[in-house]
C-alpha cells in the first residue's frame, strides 16, 4: 500500500494543517483525509502544491509499504 507521510513532512517544516490547507487551496477536511491515509487517489496538482509548499520531493510524502494481508477498505 501507499502511505502518506504528510504529518512527518509538516512537522519537519513546522507548518500547521490549517496553514498548509490554505496555501495549497485545499479544504482542511480534504487535507485531513489525505493526512490520515483515507484518500483513494491524489491529483498531480495537489502533489505539486504539496511539494512546492513543503519544499520536498513526492517520495518524501509518498511511501510504499508491504500490505499486512488485510484487504484495503
Amino acid at each position: 500500500m501507499i502511505r502518506i507521510n504528510l504529518d512527518i513532512m509538516m512537522a519537519k517544516r513546522h507548518i500547521s494543517a490549517g496553514t498548509l490547507a490554505e496555501r495549497i487551496e485545499l479544504t482542511p477536511a480534504n487535507l485531513s483525509i489525505l493526512k490520515n491515509n483515507k484518500a483513494k487517489a491524489i491529483r498531480f496538482s495537489t502533489l505539486n502544491a504539496l511539494c512546492r509548499e513543503l519544499q520536498c520531493q513526492p517520495g518524501d510524502i509518498l511511501e510504499y509499504v508491504e500490505d499486512d494481508g488485510r484487504q484495503e477498505e
Binding site: L26, N30, L31, I33, L34, K38, A39, K40, A41, I42, R43, T46
Partner: protein, 158 residues
Amino acid sequence: MNSSSMSKNMKGDLALTKFAIIAMSVISVGLMLAGPRLIHYVMLRQSPLFEGRTRYILLLLGGYVSGFLMLYCLYVLMGLVKRIGDGDVFVRANVNSLNRVSLIILTAAVILLFLGLTCITSMVAVSVMAAFMTLIVRVVRDAFLRAVEMQDELDYTI
C-alpha cells in the same frame, strides 16, 4: 444541449414519471376493487388445469397479491424518483430501491407464471415479460452500483 435545458428536460421527465406512478397506483387500486368482477370475465375463458372454485380463489388471491406487490413497487419507485429529483442520483439508497423493484417484479413473474400454468394461459406471456423486465432493472441497478463506487472513489481523490 446545454445544462439548463437538460435540467429542464429532466425536471419534466421526473414530473411526468411521478404523474404516471400516481396514475398507475389509482389504476392498481381500481383493478383490485374490481377484482371479483374481472375474474368473472376471466373464468369464461379456457383453463389449462384448475376449474371452478379453486380456479376462482387462485385467480383472486394471485390478483390481490400481485396488486399489493405493484403498489409496493410504485411506492419504492416514487422514493427513487423523489431522490433523483433532489439531486441524490448515485447513492446507495437508489441501488437498494432498484434491487427491491427487481425482486418485486421477479416475485410477480413467479406468481403470474403459476397462474398462467394453472388458471389462464395468457398470463405466461405477462410472466415472461415481467422476468425480462427483472433482468433490465438488475442491469440498471448494477450500473448505478458501479456509478456509486466511482463516486466514492472520486470523493476520496484529493
